[in-house]
């Protein structure tokens, strides 16, 4: 699978995403500057996290007008796979490629910590290696991560099986107490009606090595390529 990792002015997470795809998953991958519009050589485009345009005005607003993002509807229509992580999710919403908006966290504080997520639907190219109801742990790091949509949209997402991850407690219970940012229906990830566009607030690329505390995020990428990752350096048993 040929990957593109988009780079906007202010992208911060492109390097780790690139590194993960190229060395751990051994996939062909290229950085794609935001002014490019030819996506024909790629199977999957990833919009990485960061602060595109400083998150000024509204997160993702200015990036959503870039030539690259303007070329995405056609790419997606042709069956291309598209994943937006954190700021990438915000860009997808601003571009209208997914429904809804992201508002400031309920606490009005930036939140950076590991959270538990309950897996919903797994019949997407990004989640097929997860089990429904499974609880995974991924880091979140955002100020504007409170998912908002009107009731009708939320119903549509729910009935269409488009809610992929919800914030939960360690036992998988989706409660208000386990909702870090005030997202409607505790939504952390959703997909498009055609299931080939996914947006998510948590950072799977930061949880893809035991060394960094978790490999849960790797499952998202393994789902995409339909295979297992090469083993990263595993901490051997600490006994010499």
């Amino acid at each position: 699978m040929r990957f593109a990792v988009a780079v906007f002015p202010g992208s911060n997470c492109e390097e780790e995403t690139f590194r993960l795809l190229s060395s751990l998953l051994e996939q062909p991958v290229e950085y794609l500057w935001h002014r490019e519009r030819d996506l024909s050589r790629f199977d999957c485009v990833i919009l990485p996290g960061g602060f595109s345009y400083g998150d000024y005005l509204r997160c993702g607003a200015m990036a959503s007008l870039s030539p690259l993002v303007q070329a995405l509807p056609e790419f997606v229509l042709a069956g291309g796979k598209l994943l937006g992580i954190c700021n990438g999710f915000q860009i997808l919403l601003e571009a209208g490629l997914l429904p809804g908006a992201l508002l400031p966290n309920r606490s009005l504080k930036y939140i950076s910590r590991k959270v538990c997520l309950r897996v919903g639907q797994v019949d997407t190219p990004f989640t097929n290696r997860l089990r429904p109801g499974q609880v995974i742990r991924l880091p979140i790091a955002h100020y504007e991560g409170s998912y908002f949509a009107d009731e009708a949209t939320l119903e549509r997402l729910e009935t269409g099986g488009r809610i992929l991850l919800q914030y939960s407690d360690p036992a998988g219970r989706v409660t208000e107490g386990a909702n870090p940012n005030g997202s409607a229906r505790s939504i952390a990830a959703i997909c498009s009606a055609d299931r080939n566009v996914v947006g998510m607030m948590p950072h799977p690329e930061r949880a893809s090595e035991d060394l960094l505390g978790s490999e849960d995020g790797l499952r998202i990428f393994e789902s995409l390529i339909g295979g297992a990752a090469r083993k990263a350096h595993r901490p051997e048993d600490r006994r010499a």
Partner: protein, 90 residues
């Protein structure tokens, strides 16, 4: 406000506000903080943006239309926001 000598400048103010029904956590937090400070008469606070845009009148088309186009294409997000353009006196 108004014009300067060199360029034919026009100043407009764009107000972007949250649609009714969209939660405004910041407004709520400010109301609470005002109550703590003793301003108990405050019933509600809603926060929006105020953008002052200076335009060179010689570029582009009729100013109001251009400003509304800017709002639709960038300055406001129709999912959660409304906008209002207020032209400055010249």
């Amino acid at each position: 406000m108004g014009t300067t000598k060199e360029k034919d400048l026009l100043q407009a103010v764009i107000h972007v506000t949250l649609k009714p029904g969209v939660l405004d956590p910041q407004g709520r937090a400010i109301r609470q903080a005002l109550h703590h400070l003793g301003f108990s008469e405050v019933e509600e606070v809603r926060i929006g943006k105020r953008m002052v845009v200076s335009l060179d009148r010689k570029g582009g088309g009729p100013a109001r239309e251009r400003l509304e186009e800017m709002c639709r294409s960038l300055l406001a997000n129709p999912v959660i926001e409304e906008f209002h353009v207020e032209m400055g006196e010249e």
